[in-house]
Amino acid sequence: MQTAQTAILSLPRAVGRSAIGALAHVGRFSLMLAELFRALGEWRIWLPRTMDEARSIGAGSLFIVLLVSAFAGAVTALQTGYQFQGNLPYYVVGTLVVESIVLELGPVLTALVLAGRIGARYAAELGTMRVTEQIDALESLGRSPMSHLIIPRVLAGLVMIPILTIFANAIGVLAGWWSAKQVLPISNGDFTYGAQYFWRPFDAYYSIIKAFFFAGAITLIPCYMGFNAQQGAEGVGKATTTAVVATSVTILLLDTLLAKLLLHP
């Protein structure tokens, strides 16, 4: 009787427990955001640290972001050329390369690469600071971990990730252009014509808006995970893994959501 009852109740218990766990995450995340906004007044503290983080994100990630985006552009051009050979005018390659890089590949690939690079670093750094009591130490000195640790990281990401996305878009298109010319009898004029023909100015803004939202995910989620890491090296490892996975999934969700909201309102 007792065991049967336990067995029957275990499922709703598990569901209830994970629901409460999820709610607790939402609550803690919101509280962190509130603290973050409250600490924005301490600009003397976060501004120089933001510069440090921005330099490390910007200069440190530029190469890998450009590399990934260049390959994406080249592959898009090659595959488009292969697929439509003999069926469509070649200038369509220009259109497809520009549109797929600017609308999708540039922002999303950059974000996913940075989720691994920046997100993992943030989660590991803050997680280590948490378990070695550095965050407690900061608080014990009457200082806000938000203005010292979180705001610089988040702001640096919000500024630098869209900038990196712009570079990624530019390099992706140039690489696509170059490789299209290697395999197809397409002239610069054709490519330019195709690139410009279906271009809407909103496409560029859309790309940046996406990058901005992705930047929010890449910085806030790992900061939250690291900041709330459990004790020990295992806690840091878990926070880092969870941060990268959660950030990547959030990026893809945001990608879909923004496409729906902004392109098909």
Partner: protein, 294 residues
């Protein structure tokens, strides 16, 4: 302290470079360029697929681009052409929107005119739209509709079969076009959808056993138009649902059956369809389509 400046300068230069790339790239993609240009306003009733950066040509040479499109009211659109080349325009200059290719691309062909009086600055030209590929295919949609209606009065199964074949061929042609996955060409897609819808409906109509029996009845009873009307009426319930969209609530069935001009009209339609298909085959524009059924 100089270390601090170094770090901030690096961040600043990355940000500025990013902004510069953004501005230059969007200007390039938007087809904008610096430099002197003449603005020529043109008034159109419908600009179709024209958008800013659509090329403007004189004698086949690109002399500029569409700069701005302003909606002034239903059937009234003002388009500013930005000419980078200097083209002397006369009072009787004309601008025509011409379709090129089948993806819905258009260009504006500017005819500078022959009048000795030059165009006064700021004077708005009157623009027209030439029927291109898009127009032709559009027309076909209307004709197919007429064919569909005409099919109901066919006295000969053979003719119906022929028509069926032709339409199937048309449909295959269309699906070849459709297969190219052209993506953003909205107009083309719209046409495809409407054409395929028409063809599908026509197919089901011709395949309907009720119709077949009606056809036989009609064949055997060469006389009674009255009787034909009766027979058609028996199938109306079935047919109605099929052709409802086409007929839009008009009780055309009886009327059509009594209309002697229908057969002629159908023949003409078939001919024009054939002509269209020939023209598609002869000058497929920039498309290289292997249309095997012809």
């Amino acid at each position: 302290m100089d270390l601090h400046y170094k770090r901030e300068a690096l961040v600043g230069s990355i940000v500025l470079a990013g902004v510069a790339v953004f501005v230059v790239a969007t200007m390039w993609l938007g087809g904008k360029s610096f430099g002197r240009k003449d603005l020529v306003p043109v008034h159109f009733t419908d600009v179709g697929n024209v958008k800013s950066s659509t090329p403007v040509k004189v004698s086949g040479v690109q002399v500029g681009k569409v700069d701005r499109i302003a909606f002034e009211g239903v059937g009234s659109v003002r388009v500013d052409l930005a000419l980078t080349e200097h083209v002397p325009l006369s009072q009787d200059a004309k601008a025509t929107i011409v379709a090129i290719g089948v993806l819905g691309d258009v260009e504006v062909v500017l005819d500078p005119g022959t009048d000795s009086v030059p165009l006064s600055p700021g004077q708005v030209l009157e623009g027209t739209t030439a029927a291109g590929m898009g127009g032709l295919v559009d027309e076909l949609g209307g004709q197919a509709r007429a064919v569909m209606i005409g099919a109901q009065a066919l006295l000969n199964q053979q003719t119906a079969d022929d028509l069926h074949e032709t339409l199937k061929a048309m449909q295959r042609l269309m699906s070849v076009y459709a297969d190219t996955r052209t993506g953003p060409t909205a107009e083309m897609t719209r046409l495809m959808v409407s054409l395929q819808g028409v063809s599908a409906r026509l197919d089901s109509t011709l395949a309907s056993p009720a119709l077949a029996s009606t056809m036989e009845n009609m064949d055997s009873a060469t006389a009674g138009l009255t009787r034909l009307t009766e027979q058609l009426t028996t199938t109306t319930a079935r047919m109605d649902t099929l052709v409802q969209n086409m007929n839009a609530g008009k009780g055309t069935m009886g009327q059509l059956a009594t209309n002697p001009a229908l057969y002629d009209q159908l023949t003409a339609t078939m001919k024009s369809m054939q002509a269209l298909l020939d023209s598609v085959q002869a000058k497929p524009g920039k498309l290289t389509v292997q249309v095997k059924m012809f």
